[in-house]
């Protein structure tokens, strides 16, 4: 198992952002086919494909879609919302898909919308992604002119309007209910669940929310059939995923792999290994919110179950490679800073806990912390875990707790030696979390420490 181009097929040879090019490789055939099928039949293919969400939670797509009421039974309008807010640190795969195979992605959106009987779909696109926005909008325009979207799609009598909605810089809007709030024109603070979006989502109506990559697989599933798709990958982890490889690795970038491929193959065979003759120290396998793996675990296969067995998660498929120059306390501090900065401020444990974590980690890094405070740090993580309104708090507590657990001696040395054993040598030395100008301005009025 290794490279397996399914979504990114032909993208190296052709400019698939052009409709004509995309059509020459069978583009929009799946949409045509799907429109010819019963809605339920398409849904059955998705169920058979057993494709799990690519956004992070890994929930089976077919199942989620089947939670929605059938259009004929729903008094309310049904919506499809695309989560294109890609912001999990280390992740840049949706971007690749939108830039290189926008039509494949859109075809997936159209099919999914038709399957759930929606006439209005929203693509919530990360605000910073300007070029991606331009490419997707251009592709959408092409598709509209060709009749793949709009009124009476391909003569099927079904209408679909798609609105591309740009975010404005808030990681929490990637969380599905935060996204919905934001899309409704509010501060992107997550909602309590239940009710789940499938029953009461956008404008309190039935809503299907899927990630860009998840939707981009839909045309492929319709094309090859759910059964066939399910044969790709390994058990409970069907198909391929576009993995984002970054950090201390020679060839960073996106690699579409069959699930079950090992980290070693990705990092060494494809990624060219660790540069500057350094040693592999740790791997973050699924974006900064998942527990870390040690170099010793480099043979772990990239699939849901194997990662779970290793005590971590596949998450967003972002593999961050860390070499031996990195201080794990600084890593913890930087990661904690990120989640503190992105905490929406709605629930207490996340808002207060992430801030406290940053303060403690900073003190540890400075070498001023007591043994007791290291225990407090672990306790704070423990008290955040499972007590928050949405998973963001966990996303801060889990990784940091795992850094301490797996690199305990390094944390211990900071306390025993009263300073950072790496001196100025750590690769992360000095990085600061963003200073937002409006927060800076606010600090001028009323002191609001956003950092330690």
């Amino acid at each position: 198992m290794a490279l397996r181009k399914l979504l990114l097929a032909h993208a190296d040879e052709r400019d698939l952002t052009k409709l004509a090019e995309y059509e020459t490789v069978g583009g929009y055939e799946s949409l045509r086919r799907a429109l010819g099928m019963e809605r339920q039949a398409v849904l059955d293919e998705l169920l058979a494909a057993d494709v799990r969400g690519r956004g992070g939670a890994g929930f089976p797509m077919g199942r989620k879609a089947s939670f929605l009421p059938k259009p004929e039974d729903s008094s309310k309008r049904i919506y499809l919302v695309v989560n294109a807010d890609e912001s999990e640190p280390g992740t840049f795969k949706d971007r690749e898909i939108m830039l290189r195979v926008p039509h494949l992605f859109l075809e997936g959106v159209f099919i999914a919308a038709n399957t759930i009987g929606s006439n209005l779909a929203f693509i919530y696109l990360r605000g910073e992604y300007l070029r991606e926005y331009e490419v997707v909008v251009a592709a959408l325009e092409e598709a509209r002119e060709a009749g793949y979207v709009g009124k009476d799609v391909l003569g099927s009598g079904w209408d679909l309007a798609v609105v591309v909605h740009r975010g404005a810089g808030a990681y929490i809007c990637g969380e599905e209910t935060g996204l919905l709030e934001s899309l409704e024109g509010r501060r992107g603070q997550p909602r309590t669940k239940p009710p789940f979006p499938a029953i009461s989502g956008l404008y309190a109506s039935p809503t299907l929310i899927n990630n860009v990559e998840t939707l981009a697989t839909v045309p492929k599933i319709v094309q090859m059939g759910g059964e066939a798709y399910a044969r790709l990958g390994v058990e409970h982890s069907a198909g391929t995923r576009v993995f984002s490889l970054s950090g201390n690795v020679v060839n960073g970038g996106n690699y579409e792999l069959e699930l079950g491929t090992s980290l070693r193959e990705l990092i060494y065979d494809l990624g060219g290994g660790i540069p500057d003759g350094r040693e592999l120290k740790a791997i973050i396998p699924g974006g900064s919110s998942v527990p870390v793996l040690t170099a010793a675990e480099v043979d772990t296969p990239l699939d849901f179950d194997s990662m779970a067995a290793a005590g971590t998660m596949l998450g967003s498929g972002a593999v961050i490679v860390i070499d031996d120059r990195c201080c794990m306390v600084q890593l913890g501090l930087r990661v904690a800073q990120f989640y503190m900065h992105e905490s929406c401020g709605k629930c207490t444990p996340c808002r207060e806990g992430t801030r406290w974590m940053v303060q403690l980690l900073h003190k540890i890094e400075e070498g001023d912390a007591t043994q007791g405070e290291l225990d407090v740090l672990l306790d704070v993580c423990d008290r955040i875990l499972g007590n928050c309104l949405c998973p963001l708090g966990d996303a801060a507590a889990m990784p940091v707790a795992s850094y301490v657990a797996r690199f305990r001696e390094e944390y211990q040395r900071h306390i025993d030696e009263g300073g950072c054993p790496f001196g100025d040598e750590s690769s992360l030395k000095g990085v600061l979390a963003p200073v937002d100008q409006h927060h800076a301005r606010l600090r001028a009025e009323i002191e609001v420490p956003t950092g330690p």
Binding site: R166, S182, I284, L428, G430
Partner: protein
């Protein structure tokens, strides 16, 4: 007055895309920000609020939640350096410091001549090609400290 009314019309137009006009707050604030030299003065919130039948307080509450809206004046150009883990691992800090030297401004500040604002941002989503620097909303990846003087020269020359 006329500029305001056209902003009003443009916002109403965007709002028409949505089942509920409130949904147009982010696009509306973006329009207002573009119209006001890259930031949102108090008056902008009044105009957006008037167009969407929301209070200025509400509009500011929303804007202040999102990092891409600026509640204080910014430079004509914006340089944003990603300092999240992946970029940091490959030297984002050095790139940032290079900009700070070159611009003689700290992260979060604007150059004395009000031309260029420098800020650090969280993961920009280009991790595989770090360090990612976003210049006026366009990604430059990867950027090395050595590239910094060139980028600054480019901006200074008003390109």
């Amino acid at each position: 007055m006329s500029a305001a009314s056209t902003l009003y019309d443009r916002i109403r137009e965007v709002a028409a895309q949505y089942p509920e006009s409130r949904s147009a707050v982010l696009p509306a604030l973006r329009l207002a920000q573009e119209e006001n030299g890259g930031w949102l003065p108090p008056e902008a919130f009044r105009e957006v609020g008037d167009a969407l039948e929301l209070t200025p307080a509400y509009c500011k509450a929303v804007a202040s939640f999102y990092d891409m809206f600026h509640l204080a004046p910014v430079g004509r150009h914006m340089v944003e350096v990603c300092t999240n883990v992946s970029c940091a691992l490959v030297g984002a800090q050095q790139v940032l410091e290079a900009f700070e030297r070159e611009l003689d401004a700290q992260a979060g500040e604007t150059t004395a001549d009000g031309e260029i604002t420098l800020r650090t941002v969280e993961c920009a989503g280009g991790c595989g090609w770090g360090t990612v620097v976003v210049v006026d909303h366009r990604y430059r990846e990867p950027v090395q400290p050595a590239d910094v003087p060139g980028i600054v020269r480019e901006l200074r020359s008003g390109a």
